[in-house]
Amino acid sequence: MTGVSIDGVRVEREGRVVLDVRTLTLAAGRTTAILGPNGSGKTTLLRAIAGLEPLRAGSVSFDTSAAETKRDVAYVFQEDVFLRESVHWNLEIGLRLRGTEARERQRRIAGAASRVGVEHLLERRADRLSGGEGRRVSLARALCLHAPVVLLDEPLAGLDERGYARLIDELPRIVEAFNATTILVTHSRDEALRLANDLVVLVDGQVLAAGDAHAVATNPRVAAVAEVLGYTVLTLPARRIAVPPGGLRLGSGEVECVMTVDRVVDLVGAAEIVGRVDGSVLRIPCASGDARPASGERVTIHATQFSPLD
């Protein structure tokens, strides 16, 4: 197994720092999700690991016991990138370039296609696949390579609801089949927690939190991390707290504040109250038995669970 060590990596574009990572170790054999808002440097970090991004400073090293010094990675790009050839050729080209023997190439292609469910697509033109098919073929191409490090840049991006639901169920098994150190970029907390053992939160090019996924997700500690993880950050008179998704309710409680209602959204059988506390927009579920407040009305809300912030 191969781990990845990132030491003092700095990437600049047009004089602006887009990535500044002092120290980060991605443990061998584990799946790490890199989570952050748009433009936080997630893809740049992945490209730096793949050796595709020129570094202004620092280094990325693979901790491997093998004598192999070449950076051996498989990369699933955010958008589908294929040669204008058949799916089979697109799966085979990486193996050819790596000097894999013909019989082994066919064995790996058949195995990966079967695992990802694209056997029926092998003779189709790769650049004419649908979004869901393209995602699967990209995953199969990465799987064929048997690379010790696999980089997945938003592997579920651009899928429709049905395709997303099917692939997110299958993805844990596919990631397991990689049998590699897998690094996944996502801006979805849900995807990160479903797929990863470890979590790295990246904001404005800097690592604000890293560690075991459950530990990071349940104890965000700083507001920026909490927001990335989907928490609602509330500023109370003496402290700031992070409330996890679904942790706010109408009515009084131990930790409460007053919200000004903007509107009530009817969700057929349920409703959502959209309002503001100190300029922050909040969405509170409104149970069917609750009285629906009017726009402009001030209502008391409380947190059913929360984490204190530093």
Partner: protein
């Protein structure tokens, strides 16, 4: 007539080959690299694609004539001078079409090939393969432009009967002599030649269509 046809093929074929050797890498660099003056350079190339051959011929003549800066080379009124002029006409066409066909590829394709394990040369080869339809259009357009031009060949070649007369300049000569039937025959040969070359390239292009 056979000598004129062979001379036409030799001069225009050699000029096209040289233009491909220079124009394809140049078009790739313009398409893929960011550098100061890139847009200006692309503008110059696009202007060059529509440059009148007679103007190119005049510039080359000024350079190669005995009293010109490269007069000592003794190239004026030779096939080499015609190749130089036709090369200058063909190269912007090759660069322009190459840049356009490379730009039409996914910008992530070089990254993909790098990650898959292709070195720099293999990456370039695979990208050229990917853009092959556009590159063959570039070759056809360039060859078509220079095999049919008359102004540059006339000025720098001098239309010498046994050494620099090609099909287009021969047509001008026969027409001016009043030999209309012979001029028409040469015109048909030129059309047939152009058709055969372009048909061959088209067959290659369509066979390699992904």
């Amino acid at each position: 007539m056979t000598a004129i046809v062979l001379r036409t093929l030799l001069v225009s074929g050699l000029a096209t080959l040289l233009a491909v050797l220079v124009g394809v890498p140049a078009g790739y660099l313009i398409a893929r690299r960011s550098f100061r003056g890139r847009t200006l350079l692309l503008g110059v190339v696009n202007t060059g694609m529509g440059m009148p051959p007679v103007v190119v011929g005049l510039i080359v003549w000024v350079m190669l004539v005995r009293s010109g800066p490269f007069g000592d080379l003794g190239l004026i009124y030779t096939q080499a001078a015609m190749v130089v002029a036709q090369f200058l006409i063909a190269t912007p066409i090759i660069i322009g079409f190459t840049a356009a066909s490379i730009q039409a590829l996914s910008p992530r394709l070089p990254d993909l090939l790098t990650v898959l394990g292709a070195g720099r040369v293999r990456t370039l080869w695979l990208l050229a393969r990917e853009a092959r339809l556009g590159l063959l259009v570039a070759v056809m357009a360039a060859f078509g432009a220079i095999v049919s031009e008359v102004g540059a060949s006339m000025i720098v070649g001098g239309n010498l009967e046994r050494s620099t007369r090609v099909l287009t300049t021969a047509i001008v000569t026969e027409t001016s002599r009043g030999e209309i039937e012979r001029a028409l025959l040469l015109g048909l040969v030129l059309l047939a030649l152009s058709f055969v070359v372009n048909l061959t390239l088209t067959v290659v292009q369509q066979r390699s269509r992904p």
